[in-house]
Symmetry: C2
């Protein structure tokens, strides 16, 4: 069984297969019996809960409140905002009936044809339409603004090529939907939430991202601007981790949401929406993990420290436990999540492999010799380095070690990402660098046509126009040779 856990495809052999196997072997998720859907297993869900709670606190710190809007959306709502329907109304789960009945031949249940809905309902692919239909009743005057709502919910988009966490028909997410009296305030909100996302993904997930604005082609359907954060996977692709949209007055106009401003004039409300999803789990797994399994940043690890006793007799175990329990209590008192695994139905070797695959940041193992010598074997999951250290004082060194691991994981991912961010000035070089799995900064003439052709020929898309470093520079479009005033970021993506 320990062997089976270890028996993971190497990243260098087949990155895609490595990922698929790892998600299952680390007990994070599995395919559900329903096509394209997933079951998030307890260990995977424990990580998601940490993501959720941390983000939720940050949303509240920035003035947001939670609410809940309906799962089902009347079909006609989706047609209200012209661009939105193009982008979202297609691959959806459609509810047409509201009742089943027993089959007359006793073979089971059938859909009752008499219970057909007058208007079909759509399982929400995103909630702008139903929320703006609701906001219409909440907003009369500038005094009712801003509205800063978020919801944690499940959404559904029928995916033709599903992949655990990265692309599933049903997924979990949060979606913020805000309403403002001015354009400036809404734009500021959209950018603020992009920053909240960046700070979370870098600070907690330890995943470095490029912050930027989407090109028109890559924008959210119905938005005037889409702000994004893009991470890099170990196979050199971009992964969109979160987006924040400045929606202008598009949804307010589609659902006729007007307010009386301070000067007693009627105007349409300004909007934003922003979301991150269980896709973050995919970004997390892909950023740090290795051929031995998952590598988790301590801030999101459900178990931060695992302690495995090595013993032969019940008497030995008792002695080890007496010593370990004191440490466990001391660490827990400091808010560290510790597991003392003294289960007697699994061998230490199996436990080691299991916690390695599951990415537990720190592993301590101690046997009778350690007990006599006052030592313990400590392994860091990120470097796989083992060393024998003094048991005494661990309650003080472990918190610092966890901080150290958190930083090291981020620095490693960042150094690697930075080393694969290249500037190119010819199309041949462009193609070669994309093929090699790099993030490419190149000049582009600004037209959707060129963007489409590059995508068709290289599978690379414009991930964003970066915001955190200056890409302003005179140059020529790598594809058409037309003048360009700045480089944009191209990459293949998940």
């Amino acid at each position: 069984m320990a062997k089976e856990l270890k028996d993971l495809t190497k990243r260098s052999e087949n990155y895609s297969q490595w990922y698929n196997e790892l998600v299952v072997k680390a007990d994070l998720a599995e395919q559900a019996p329903v096509r394209g859907c997933m079951v998030i297993k307890p260990y995977g869900y424990a990580i998601w809960e940490k993501i959720q709670r941390t983000l939720d606190d940050k949303f509240k710190e920035t003035g947001h409140v939670n609410a809940y809007f309906p799962l089902l959306i009347p079909k006609s709502y989706l047609s209200r905002e012209a661009e939105h329907v193009e982008g979202f109304a297609k691959e959806c789960a459609v509810v047409t009936h509201y009742r089943l009945k027993n089959a007359e031949d006793g073979s089971g249940v059938i859909v009752d044809p008499a219970a057909k809905l007058e208007e079909e309902l759509i399982v929400r692919p995103t909630s702008e339409t139903i929320i703006w239909a609701t906001y219409k009743n909440w907003i009369k005057s500038y005094r009712d603004l801003p509205i800063l709502c978020n919801q944690w919910a499940n959404v559904m988009r029928w995916e033709m090529r599903p992949r655990l966490f990265l692309r599933t028909a049903e997924f979990l997410w949060q979606e913020g939907h805000t309403a403002h009296a001015t354009r400036e305030e809404a734009e500021q909100e959209a950018r603020r939430m992009q920053t909240v996302y960046r700070d979370f993904v870098e600070g907690y997930m330890a995943v470095p991202v490029v912050r930027g604005v989407k090109s028109e082609t890559e924008r959210f359907a119905g938005a005037l601007d889409t702000y994004t954060i893009e991470s890099m996977t170990q196979d050199g692709k971009a992964l969109q981790c979160g987006t924040s949209h400045f929606l202008g007055q598009n949804f307010a106009k589609a659902f006729d949401v007007q307010f009386v401003d301070k000067d007693n004039k009627l105007d349409y409300v300004w909007a934003t929406s922003w979301g991150v999803s269980t896709r973050l789990m995919g970004a997390l797994i892909m950023a740090h993990s290795d051929d031995n399994g998952l590598v988790l940043p301590p801030k999101l690890a459900p178990i931060q420290v695992v302690i495995v006793p090595i013993y032969k007799t019940a008497e030995d175990l008792e002695k080890i436990s007496a010593k370990v329990n004191v440490l466990v209590d001391a660490l827990r008192a400091k808010g560290i999540s510790v597991k003392y695994d003294d289960a007697d139905n699994k061998r230490p070797g199996f436990k080691f492999a299991d916690y390695e695959v599951k990415g537990v940041p720190v592993r301590l193992a101690l046997g009778m010799r350690d007990l006599e010598a006052g030592t313990v074997e400590l392994m860091r999951r990120d470097t796989l380095e083992k060393e024998t250290v003094q048991f005494e004082g661990l309650e003080n060194t472990i918190p610092a070690l966890l901080d150290d691991i958190q930083k090291a994981i981020f620095e490693k991912a960042k150094a690697w990402r930075d080393s694969r961010m290249v500037k190119v000035d010819s199309y041949d070089d462009f193609k070669a660098q994309i093929e090699a799995g790099n993030f490419v900064l190149a000049h582009w003439d600004g037209t959707p046509e060129t963007e489409a052709k590059i995508k068709e020929e290289t599978k690379a898309t414009i991930r964003c126009i970066p915001m955190d470093f200056d890409t302003t520079e005179e140059g020529k479009c790598v594809y058409t040779g037309q003048p360009s005033h700045r480089r944009v970021l191209f990459a293949r993506s998940y």
Copy 2:
């Protein structure tokens, strides 16, 4: 506007209308544009979040973990467990298609007839079937047991007579699904969770409940035993607050989930499931609120203390704020949720009415005279009593006052409920007491036929066979005169 908030139907005039108005006026929830569905507004959701977080902690303390299973269930799964399908497979939202397309006449989107699913999918009304289909792959041996999973999710049951929180087509809930090696362990788990629910509803919601077992007729579809907790509303009806089911081996047999036990023999797995939902919000509102609005127990109040300054000039406000801010900090340091409402676009009278309707447990108001005298006006929402107290030392008296209010609300509800729990020994008396809105303890011959006749004639059902007090006693069925060995609890219900 203050008047409008106050303009609430009296409970004595029309209890049902009072409830419907209160839910909306207190900003808890509203009807969604989709029939039978609700929008849970931020203030209502903040209460639900407190319920959720408290329960979640209690589930984890008792060894449970969270996971997530799919929203959609293949239609055929519902037919697997014979009794379950009878109880659940009927009023469901049915997904038949997975794609929309643009109408050729440009009028909007239509369902794409080419995208018809081979097998229809049902929006989960509850998840036993999909979860047991999944557990089949998780369970091979007794070493894999117990499995103690919970999920927080939305579910859907097409309701013909929807009512905010109490009965909505979509609602939020948690559903625990556990798997065990022995019958004893599963039964113990079902009873343990009933106790967790009772402790929460009484200890946090301050709502007294009767703990009991359901009669066969009232059992969950597919269960061998259903444990329930029943609260009483102010119009004397029972409200089922939470149920915990001992499912025997029914679902394991339906989905063929067997395990190898310690003696190397194959057996079917034993199961439980248990859940509470946003219905608890309805129980909470109905138990304590009065003709002035909501009354919230301090442990679940999003705002526990509100402070309203009374001033004429900006200078006055500054002086008041300087004093109040110190108190706010001191209370927050003790974990108390305080709102200092110094908004200048609403009059104090409006604020008073608003916080009264919203059920904030403690209100402080202070003006310039108070400032000089070192006093403050304090109002308790539960009794509506106002008194002028010393400002000095409030940070010490308020925590105790909140505890006191929590206890007082519970005791009041309990005294009232106890006063309406009556024993009856004739059918005429039975009918009169039910009509008067009481909980009736009566002898019953134990047959579903008698139960059905009583329900038909009086609209009263057996809420439970109580567990917390002894109802064993020889007697005669109030309806048939047949011998009976104990009284059971009858009431009309929500």
